[in-house]
Every structure is written in structure tokens, then in C-alpha cells.
Symmetry: C2
Subunit: 394 residues, 2 copies
Amino acid sequence: MSMKDKIAIIGAGCTMFSENFGQDYSDMMVESSGEALEEAHLTGKDIQAAWLGTAFPDAGVWKGRSGMDLAQSLGMFDIPITRVSNYCATGGDAFRNACHCLLAGEADVVMALGVEKLRDRAPQESLVKMMVENGHPIMQKGFTAAGTFAVTATRHMHEYGTKAEQLGRISVKNHRHAVHNPKAQYRSEVTLEQVMRSPMVAWPLTVLMSCPTTDGSACVIMCRAEDAGKHNEDYVLLKGHGFSVSTGWDLPFFDPHHHFTAYRATEVASRKAYKDADVTDPRKELDLCEVHDCFASVELLTYEDLGLCKRGEGGRLVDEGVTAAGGEIPVNLSGGLLSCGHPVGATGLRMLYEITRQLQGKAGKRQVPDARLGLAHNIGGPGAVSSVTILGAR
Amino acid sequence: MSMKDKIAIIGAGCTMFSENFGQDYSDMMVESSGEALEEAHLTGKDIQAAWLGTAFPDAGVWKGRSGMDLAQSLGMFDIPITRVSNYCATGGDAFRNACHCLLAGEADVVMALGVEKLRDRAPQESLVKMMVENGHPIMQKGFTAAGTFAVTATRHMHEYGTKAEQLGRISVKNHRHAVHNPKAQYRSEVTLEQVMRSPMVAWPLTVLMSCPTTDGSACVIMCRAEDAGKHNEDYVLLKGHGFSVSTGWDLPFFDPHHHFTAYRATEVASRKAYKDADVTDPRKELDLCEVHDCFASVELLTYEDLGLCKRGEGGRLVDEGVTAAGGEIPVNLSGGLLSCGHPVGATGLRMLYEITRQLQGKAGKRQVPDARLGLAHNIGGPGAVSSVTILGAR
């Protein structure tokens, strides 16, 4: 059964993605939901069910273990609120579960809200230290996010001749895009030389090829498509959604599915989303994408996982400017995670906010002329959990 | 739109609820899902979407932050798996989200699995210490689960003359029931004197009025009702479900809804479930209940929240044996959390396992003759999150 044209986003909101020292976990929820509710001409009392996406309640403040924290922050009581957590794909998964509830007819107006407070650290042990000490006795040792993603970058370089400079150019592109995004953490252009000479994190990934640590919240409000006009004439439609888990936390290095040059979860999720949306040639049919560039190499591999080009041709897409502003299929016009940062549970919903504004023609200087169809891609864990959402203009 | 008779449980499984030192987090998932899959005549490859309920991935082993951990343990790849977390109501919420997906038509066979490893502690800081240090600067100080629930017990005693001995009798009853549950952690009868003289935790709650800390996993597999006969003739039907969040973690003492003698979340959730199931007189229509007796007082208040008696009459129900085995409406024939323990994410699904076995007539010496309709109630946080599920024999 296809999800196509059954659900509408009637409101979207997003805080600054930044070091939001002046806002706590709850304040950010109030801001992102406030923008979304205002757009939908609703108040919190109109929301009949909600999903809260927070991935690391123990990384910063002690919040986000339960839907309760959304209830308390927004004063939304006596409704069901689920907390969803799926590493960096948490936001996409919160959205997905909210859509199911609408389609099940269990609620008429729902909210999916992601929030993460990472820059105000609680005075406790380092999360990475806890993971290394308490995780798998072999696999978890030496584990870092950059290291996990670097192994797919190096394998891609080995198999297809991809160059570190091509990864660098993705960073240059996304930072250039972010100049026009008032909600991005970093809004300065960087040169290829700056990217390549910035400190090495895990070869070939430099600091400027890695997303920063950031606070933020984003929110979308949905209803079934037939009800959308009642709330907001300027809604956008869900065309398709896919979500997939391809491997486990400790498994990527042994899993036969993992050929190290692709994220199978994205391949599976995007094929489901394309099927829903009747998309057969994504490069031609999509007008823009927001993809999960937690590291520059992930954006490059994702071009291929999404079928925007053949396997091994991701580097050429960068060289030819296909994915830059004004190119054939602009990717990460928001600046991506590299410029916006990555408040984990919020990122997938920020992407939906960005695509929504583009499809409404309200993306300011980032606007793609006559954008009709956009894709948001959110990946988590060691590349093992992926969410792909396709939205369309009404 | 009512959920009634649209979804069937075609398989259920449950590990021992105990100190499962011989099983790790994954082993328990394999066991509970194995029993459920076998009953449904399915393998892991037939599951099209799954929900993992784990509330405290950082309390024991470093597992359960993502659906990935279910994928890895059961070898179930290339499907969507969501991790749900909603404090002690996590299991009920995992089940609920799985039901939405079925009703949305996004999958035909789904799994909801809860698991928690609490007795093999990771060598890290105490969770309670972290909560107290990093939580609300006033509300979180001195916070304990027993303390939070004790305040509703004492207020109920003040308002209605409820006696500590009545709480003690709930413990005696549930421990007596557990003698016949081979999966319960504690299977010895206790006397009222033992309960009352056991060490005080938070007045009036003694150790024997408090659930132990436990490892365990439980699992249910569902499909839409029209497909159930294809898998297993001995299925049970979902009659109704409600879920509600009544307040926030820090708020219960200020929230005007919280009158200290009831859990509003249960009132709201049960009314929704009764509406779905066309239940108008729960005491007459229900044949049995599993309720969330994390502390004996919660069971007593829950009688009233569920409408099994009038407000203030919970103590009388105990005195008259209405909720004991053989009584008018037996409650916690499994032994409840007081005897089974409370592996947090698993508890709500263990209750569904128990009700399923009762409705199938397969509950052994615990069997209620001709059980046709049963209710499972799962509450979490400071009484703020509640899940109520009603199942019926086919």
C-alpha cells in the first residue's frame, strides 16, 4: 500500500541550529513547535498524538527519555506521546511513526518533534567513554563516528578512484549553500585548501569534512491529506517514505551485506520511498535533496545509494557541480549537517522543514525555482539505519 | 475509529523473568521471539517491521538505543525497526506503534519485543546518581521510584482510610498467584506479617510491596485480523488500546490534574480502550487483568483508575478477595511485577503474553475458566504515562 498523497505537512518549525546556550532542551521545543503550530493555525491543544525524537538523553541534559518531556515542555497533556530513538535516524523515524498513526485513523492531527541538547553537557562521564567501556569487548574499542564512516570512504577511494579532494569539494559546496541559511550554525564559505588542511579526524576525513556538535529542535505537524486545506492552504504532501535497518551496531565489519562502498539501509529505504512516490528516475524527477552529510563521504556515497548516479560515479557528480546550487539536482541547500550541525534527534525533522519551505517557495535565497519534489535522507548508527522521505508540492 | 477486532496476536513469547545471568541482552531476545515465532509458524524473515522496547540502555549493558540491536540479535535485516522508550510503559507503547503500522497497511506481519538487562550492571556510574546530579535542580533531589509512588499511597490513606495492611494483602495475593507461574522470579508465598515487617523503603511501602530488579524479555507478533487464520488458528484479537501522558517528569507535584489519589494517565488511556472495545462495565465484562503493580499501592489505585470500583473503594476490593484467583475479576494471576520483577521495556509485553495464554486457555494452573476478555495495564514515569490494552478470545 503506497503512502502517496495520503498525508500532508501543515506546519513546520525549526530553531537555530547552533550553540543555543540561551535555550534549554524545553525552550527549543517551544520555539520549533511554536513556528509549526502557528503555520498550521493550531495550538498545542489541537495535537492528538505526538512523537518525540531524542537520541541521547544522557549526552547533555537529563531529558528526552520519554514522551513526558514533550508533554511537560508544551503543556500537551492527556494524549499519547511516544519517544523514538534510532541513533542519527531518530528524526526520520519519529516522523514515520506519526504517519502510521494518521493512516491508522488513531488521530487526526499529529506532531513529530526532534530535539537534542549537546552543547550544554551534564557533569557526567563522557558518552564515548561509557560506550567504549560498556560496549562490545572488541568491536567497541577505538570506536568513533568518524572512524566508522572513514572506512567506507577509503574503500570507495580504493574501488573507484574517488579522491579526498572530491570529499573536500562537498564541504566547500555545503558551506557555500549555508551562507543563505539563517538557521545554520556556520555561515562562512570555506576554500578547498582550508578543508583539506584542516585537522585530520580519521583519514581522509578532516574537521571541515565532519559535522559539528550542535543544539537544535525541529518539528512538523501532519494530518491526513483530505483535512489539510482546513488548516493551511500552503501544505505539502507526503509522496513516499522508506525506513530500513541493514545491520547491527557491532556487526558492520562482518555482515555480508556490507560491501563498504554503500549503505544498504539507504538503498532499501529509498527503493521503498520511490515505489510509494512512483519515482523511477530520481535524478530527473527530484528537484532537490537534503542528505545526511555527517561526514562529506556519506553525502558522496548517498548519491549512489539514492540512485542519483551509478555506483562509483559520486565523485563525478561533485566535480560536475550536479549537486550544487543551480545544478541539475541541488543537494543540501541548507548547508547540510556540515554547516547546520547535527542535534541528533532533530536533524531528520530539520530536513523535512527545509524541503517543506522549498516546496512552498519560501526558502529565500536558497530557493530552487519551481521545486515540486524533494527528498530527505537521514542515516544513523554505523550507516545501519536509514530513513528516506519524499515530499511534494500540492 | 475503533481498533476493535482489526488486529490479531498470532504468537507470543516470554523468557524467565529472573536474574538471567546465563543470558545476555541478545540471548533473551532470541528466546522470547523464538517462542513467539514458533507459535505463529514464522521465522524472523517473515517479520516486515518491528518495534524494540528498552527503557534503560545505559542501566545495564550498552544495548537498546536503536532498532539495530533487535536486527543484530535476531538476524532480521532490511526491515524498519523502531526503538521506543517511555519509561515503565515502554512495552505497551512498542505494541501500540506496531499496531498503527499494521492498520496503516505499511506491513502485514509485525513484531513488538521488549527486553531489559538490569541485573548485569555495566561498570559505570549509578543511573540514580546520574539522574539526581543531572536532572531538575529541585525536583530531582531525593527522587526515588518508591518515594514518588508512596505519596499517592499516603494521600489515598488520608482521603479514604486505606490501610497499609490492604497494600500488604495485595502483595500476599500476587505472591500466592506466582506459585503457579513458572516464569516468575519469586514463586514463594509470603504472609501478611512478612510483608508488613519487611524493610521499609518509603512509608508505607515495604520491600515486599516493591517489585524487584530483574532481567527478561517478552515478544508478541501481530497481523491484521483477516490474515490471522493463515498463521495460527489459536490467535487472540485486539479489542481496544489507549495510551496517555498526563504530566511531565518534574511536574507531578504542581500539575493541577494530579490529585494524588489517581493516575490520570490510566483513567484517560482506559476510557479510550473501553470505547474501542465497547466495554461499559469493566468489572462485569473483563475476565481478568494484568496491572502494573511496581508497588502494591499502584495496583490498588489502578483498580479505581480502571473503573473496577468507585474511587476510594480499592481497599475493599482487596479485603473481599474480588481481585484474587477465583474472585470476581482476578488481577495479576501471573504474580504481577511484585513476583515477576520488572525488566522495564519487557513488562508491558509480558502482560500481553500472559493475557494471550489465558485467552487461549493455556495458562496452566493460573487459568481463569473460559476467559474471554482480558486487560493489560502498563504505567511509567511518576505515574504519568499509561498504556491500556484489551485483548479478546477469537
